[in-house]
Structure formats: structure tokens, C-alpha cells
């Protein structure tokens, strides 16, 4: 049963991605048209616009294929079942650190993580760990940090990374407190 459920989710995701791709192409077409019109109306801006686009395109092309290869390697060699298995068992400070590391692995977009988090909660994982895991998944992804390093520099990347880890940790504990406290008041049935 779990297999068919997974297949259904996969099929849904593929549909969504296909729609997303078509939407992106339409937006690209519109933006290209707008750009052509703008540059025809203001020919003196042609140089700066194309120059800036070209510089950023080069910088992207230098790293994007490599980032994609790293993403692909992780998707195949670290399946999400492994992530669920490790995180389900972890607790305490170790659990939080593991939640950050597992969330940071480049294993796909955030919407994949929601069903994983829900499954973990049902299995009894700590709420704080799940919040940290979701947040790490959302904003501490390894490939993201690499691209941030490339475009915004080491100082920016490191300080944002450290601050994010600290505050995500605090947020995890805080949300766990709120949910536990409210559950005591309002009964457990609307906990999840």
C-alpha cells in the first residue's frame, strides 16, 4: 500500500513539474517580449542590460551543472527512506544536530519533506526535531549554500548560516512548547 501511495505522490509531482515548466516557458516568452520592446524603445540601455545579463549567465553556467550533479548523486545514493530511518530514532541535542544535517542534504524540494515530516510525527518523533528538520531542509541545503557562496561571498554566507541554525533551533523548541502547552489545555485530539 505504501508503494502505491508513493507512486501516486510521484505521479502528482510529475504533473505539477510539467505544469510548472510550461508556466516558466510562458513567463520567459513574456519577459523576452517585454525586454525586446524596452530595448527598442531605449536603445542606449542595450549595452548595460545585455552586459549585466551576460555576466550573471556566465557565473550561473560555471556552477549550475556541477550543483545539479551533486543533487543527482544525493538523490540516488541517499534515498529519503534513509533520512526517515535516522531521524525517527534520534533525540536530544544529537537529534537536533542530526535533523539539521539530514535536512541540509540535497534531497529535493520542500514539498517532499512535508509527508516525511508527517510520517515522522506519527511515529513519535519530537516536534522540535521536525521543525528544525523542515527549516533546515528549506534553507540550509548544501547546494544552496554553495550558490550563496558563489554570488554573495563567504562572509555573507557563513554569518547567515550560523544565525539561521541558531534561530531555527530556538524556533523548534519554542513551537514545541506552544503546541504541548495548548494540547494540555485543549485536549490532545487536535494536536496533529
Amino acid at each position: 500500500m505504501k508503494g502505491t501511495e508513493n507512486k501516486k505522490i510521484n505521479k502528482n509531482m510529475k504533473e505539477k513539474q510539467k505544469q510548472g515548466m510550461i508556466r516558466d516557458l510562458i513567463i520567459l516568452g513574456i519577459i523576452l517580449a517585454v525586454t525586446v520592446i524596452l530595448l527598442t524603445a531605449f536603445p542606449d540601455r542595450k549595452g548595460p542590460v545585455i552586459g549585466a545579463s551576460w555576466d550573471f549567465l556566465l557565473e550561473m553556467i560555471l556552477i549550475l551543472p556541477a550543483v545539479m550533479v551533486i543533487l543527482g548523486l544525493f538523490a540516488v545514493f541517499v534515498p529519503k527512506e534513509t533520512v526517515v530511518r535516522y531521524l525517527g530514532k534520534a533525540s536530544g541535542i544529537k537529534g537536533i544536530i542530526l535533523a539539521i544535517i539530514l535536512g541540509a542534504l540535497p534531497t529535493g524540494p520542500l514539498y517532499i519533506a512535508f509527508p516525511m515530516a508527517a510520517a515522522l510525527l506519527k511515529k513519535g518523533a519530537k516536534i522540535s526535531n521536525i521543525i528544525v528538520f523542515l527549516s533546515a531542509w528549506a534553507c540550509i541545503k548544501i547546494p544552496q549554500e554553495m550558490v550563496e557562496l558563489q554570488f554573495l561571498g563567504v562572509q555573507f554566507m557563513i554569518s547567515r548560516l550560523i544565525l539561521t541554525i541558531i534561530f531555527v533551533f530556538i524556533m523548534g523548541l519554542f513551537i514545541e512548547r506552544i503546541i504541548k502547552w495548548r494540547d494540555k489545555e485543549g485536549g490532545v485530539k487536535n494536536a496533529i
Binding site: 516558466d24 513567463i27 520567459l28 519577459i31 523576452l32 525586454t35 524596452l38 531605449f42 540601455r45 542590460v49 545585455i50 552586459g51 549585466a52 550573471f56 557565473e59 560555471l62 556552477i63 549550475l64 551543472p65 556541477a66 550543483v67 545539479m68 550533479v69 551533486i70 543527482g72 548523486l73 538523490a75 540516488v76 545514493f77 520542500l110 514539498y111 512535508f114 515530516a117 508527517a118 510525527l121 521536525i130 521543525i131 523542515l134 527549516s135 528549506a138 534553507c139 541545503k141 544552496q144 554553495m146 558563489q150 554570488f151 554573495l152 562572509q155 555573507f156 554569518s159 547567515r160 544565525l163 534561530f167 524556533m171 519554542f174 513551537i175 506552544i178 503546541i179 495548548r182 496533529i192
Partner: protein, 160 residues
Amino acid sequence: MNVTAIIINGIAVVGLLIAFIKDKRKAIKSLKIAGVSFIKILPMVFIIIIIIGLLLGFVTPDQISKFIGEQSGIGGVLLVGAVGALMHIPALLSFPLAASLLESGASVTAVAAFITTLTMIGIVTLPLEIKELGKKMALLRNGISFVIAIIIALIMGAIL
């Protein structure tokens, strides 16, 4: 080619080599996934690249900095934070966009707020999050994420 790009490409090449030695079939599968993801993200890459060109070519640093620069204050930071929370673009592509904003006069605080809300908060994926994790947890996570994103951004602005 700068150092970062060399390191990232180095990691990818070494990773691939190890993968091929360990399991050839799996390695080829990951290459296929990489290829497909690359093609999928390409239209968005071009969209962002063109927007960056237009931004740097048409909008003057003065105009940008009025809205989200040093002189704009907390209002500008909240505004970019909200835009980041609403936008739904791959996080990978938010960084070149952020770099171009920084280049054209946006403050570190505003750029940090933009990236942090963009990655942490998903208004577009919120219905799915509510469905999977319940209203309480999803709303708390997204709401508090916005607050901490602004706090992180303010600290970034103070130390950088």
C-alpha cells in the same frame, strides 16, 4: 573562474568518480537526474538572468536604495521579506537575484531578509503543509519563520 566555482565543480567531479567506482548503474542514474533537473530549471534561469539585466540596466541604484536601501529603514526590510515569502522561485536562483539587488544599492539587511523568507516560508506550498502537518504547526512554522528571518536580517545588517 573563481575559487568557489572551482571547488563546487571539483566536488561534483570527485563525487561522480566515487559513484562510478562504487556502483556504475546508480552513477548513471544520478547523471540522468542531474540532466533532467538542469533542463527543468533552465527556463527559470533565463527568466532570472533577464530580470537581473533589466534591473541593473534600467533601475538606478538611487531608486533601489530608496525602497530597500540603507535609507529605507525597517519598512523596506519588511516589504522585501513579504515579497520573499510570497515568491515561489527555486532558492538556487534567489542568490544571483539577491547579488544583483545588492550590487544596485539594496542593503545587506534587505537582501538577507529576502533570501531567508524566500527559502524558509512557502505561501504557495502552505496548503500542502497544512494538509500534512496540521494548521497549527504549519501556521506557527511559517509565521515564526517570518519573525526570525527579519531578526536574522537585522543582525546581518549590523555585523556586515
